[in-house]
């Protein structure tokens, strides 16, 4: 397959279309505007529908509706816009509706800054809305990964009947890189996916009260509500098999860098440069940030490892709390941070690692 040079946001949108996404609703916000822009042009070409809603809340609820009718559907936004969408995401999770959304995150809190940041970690992994629901959350560190994750996200969403989040950032969203695009699903395949949802989706049923589809984001009966919560909890428990992680040069590492998304690829190149200078560095990069690969931190040789260096574009650090659960006090955890739209510098990571190794 030939590679094409694409911007992260546009590549995400194209991957979704190729996965069979035929409905997108969104509302503009930097730095993810190229996602809705791309869909607005592309979806009509494949018989899909694009809507620019009057707000984030309206858009996410349109996706809730379209997905309830069995159509592979998506929305996207950036940090403050994602916060507005949290109501609809929670409703989709409660009603067990498969949908995919992307957060091309920027500085925060509040309106924050329009430049890239990784400040929505807690929101993405712990509480994307009310009610304690959980989602698979994928954190791409290249445009190719963003493509592959988005394509696969629709399968996960349908498998689990649950929302899936692509947690990217303004660098991944706005940078261009060569990508190999996945295969375009045929109209027949897209129709078959929709037909396979006959059992629960509002795809047209007989006038049969007992068997009609009934999409509801809650229950009037406390017993039924608890049953729904228990079903969801069992689903979340089953995700241990879906954990994805990259462990790079960890076995003999004297210092282990850990990061996700854009910070992780910067760390990986820092590991190579540190090794070239005689410092045995390694990297643990969660690819799914939920479920989190806690067990990877058991692969560190704590007799050799002086410290784990948490690298993230968030002040205060957030990702570090999951890292700490994995490390279990077996060595110190230091941080290398930036925020506000400033992008992590490789030199800064290298300097932080050297400072630890030199014991300064």
């Amino acid at each position: 397959m030939a590679r094409v040079f694409m911007k992260g946001c546009e590549a995400i949108a194209e991957a979704a279309v190729r996965a069979g996404c035929r409905f997108f609703a969104g509302y503009p916000i930097t730095p993810q505007n190229e996602i809705p822009e791309y869909f607005s042009r592309r979806l009509p070409e494949v018989g899909g529908v694009f809507v620019q809603g009057e707000s984030e809340v309206a858009s996410v609820n349109m996706v809730y509706g379209a997905a309830s009718a069995g159509t592979r559907s998506m929305t996207s936004s950036s940090s403050p816009g994602i916060a507005l969408k949290s109501e609809g995401i929670s409703y989709c999770a409660a009603a067990r509706i498969p949908m995919v959304y992307a957060n091309i995150s920027r500085g925060g809190p509040g309106v924050g800054s329009i430049q890239p940041a990784q400040m929505d970690y807690f929101q993405a992994t712990k509480a994307s809305g009310n009610g304690g629901f959980q989602m698979l959350v994928f954190a791409p560190s290249t445009v190719q990964e963003a493509v592959d994750m988005t394509y696969k996200a629709f399968d996960y969403a349908d498998r689990d009947r649950n929302p899936v989040l692509i947690l990217a950032d303004g660098v991944i969203g706005t940078m261009m890189e060569p990508v190999v695009l996945p295969e375009m699903k045929s109209d027949e395949e897209v129709a078959a996916i929709k037909a396979s949802k006959q059992g629960w989706a509002c795809v047209g049923h007989q006038l049969d009260y007992a068997n009609r589809s009934w999409i509801q984001p809650g229950q009037w009966s406390t017993l039924k509500m608890q049953e729904a919560n228990e079903d969801a909890a069992a689903l979340y428990e089953s995700w241990k098999k879906d954990v994805q992680v990259e462990e790079y040069q960890v076995a003999d590492a004297e210092i282990v860098l850990t990061a996700y998304g854009i910070s992780a690829r910067i760390c990986k190149s820092a590991v190579d440069l540190l090794r070239a200078q005689g410092i045995k560095a390694g990297l643990i990069r969660p690819i799914t940030v939920h479920p989190f690969p806690y067990e990877s931190y058991d692969h560190i040789d704590y007799n050799k490892c002086k410290a784990v260096l948490d690298v993230e574009m968030s002040i205060p650090a957030q990702f570090v709390t999951d890292v700490a659960v994995g490390v279990k006090d077996r060595c110190p955890i230091e941080t290398c941070l930036c925020s506000g739209g400033n992008i992590m510098s490789r030199d800064k990571v290298i300097a932080a690692a050297k400072k630890i190794m030199e014991g300064k």
Binding site: R3, V4, F5, T30, I114, Q115, V171, T174, M175, M176, E177, P178, R265, I266, C267, K268, S269, A270, D272, I343, M344, S345, R346, D347, K348
Partner: protein, 181 residues
């Protein structure tokens, strides 16, 4: 081998397009890794705009490096902002039509091209970026000129009227770049 390039100027000078043409051509014609990363404020025109292109045989870590191998500067404010990021022994490509300031460094190579004037002489101020791209490719030979031209031609496919002017601009740039090697 990794090359870090920063292209900086006013919004409207085509600095993003310059970087994109170069990066796109690299993607299309080589198996190298390449990234293009734009950086701009909320302004569309008149504010500062810059982009970063990294071309590498290895996987690329940061799409914007801390230290630049090459720097293309199209206006005065960009010189002041980015000259400190250019590595010792690096090359500064400067739009000498509007940047007359002393660059304040003796440890870098300087390639001058009056691209604003040349573009005006050609009858369209907008092609200054394509002239500068020619200068860069002609001087560095980072990628084959005909491959870059093919990419420009492809990108302008819907505007064939603009092709002769862009061809002239690109070739003028190549000539200027090669002459200063």
């Amino acid at each position: 081998m990794e090359t870090n390039l920063c292209v900086a100027g006013f919004g409207g000078q085509g600095v993003m397009t310059l970087g994109k043409f170069l990066a796109d051509a690299t993607c299309n014609s080589t198996d190298k890794n390449v990234t293009f990363f734009p950086s701009y404020g909320a302004e569309q025109r008149g504010g500062t705009a810059n982009c970063f292109v990294v071309i590498s045989d290895e996987a690329i870590g940061a799409p914007l490096g801390d230290v630049m191998d090459d720097l293309i500067v199209m206006n005065g404010p960009s010189l002041a902002k980015f000259i400190g990021t250019l590595k010792s022994g690096g090359t500064l490509f400067i739009n000498s039509s509007i940047v007359s300031d002393d660059i304040g460094r003796v440890d870098v190579k300087l390639v001058k091209a009056p691209v604003t004037e040349l573009a005006l002489e050609m009858g369209n101020a907008k092609v200054l970026n394509v002239i500068m791209l020619g200068v860069y490719v002609g001087y560095t030979e980072v990628i084959q000129p005909d491959i870059v031209w093919n990419t420009i031609e492809h990108k302008l496919a819907s505007k064939p009227k603009l092709l002769p002017l862009n061809k002239q601009a690109f070739e003028k740039g190549l000539e200027l770049g090669r002459a200063q090697k």
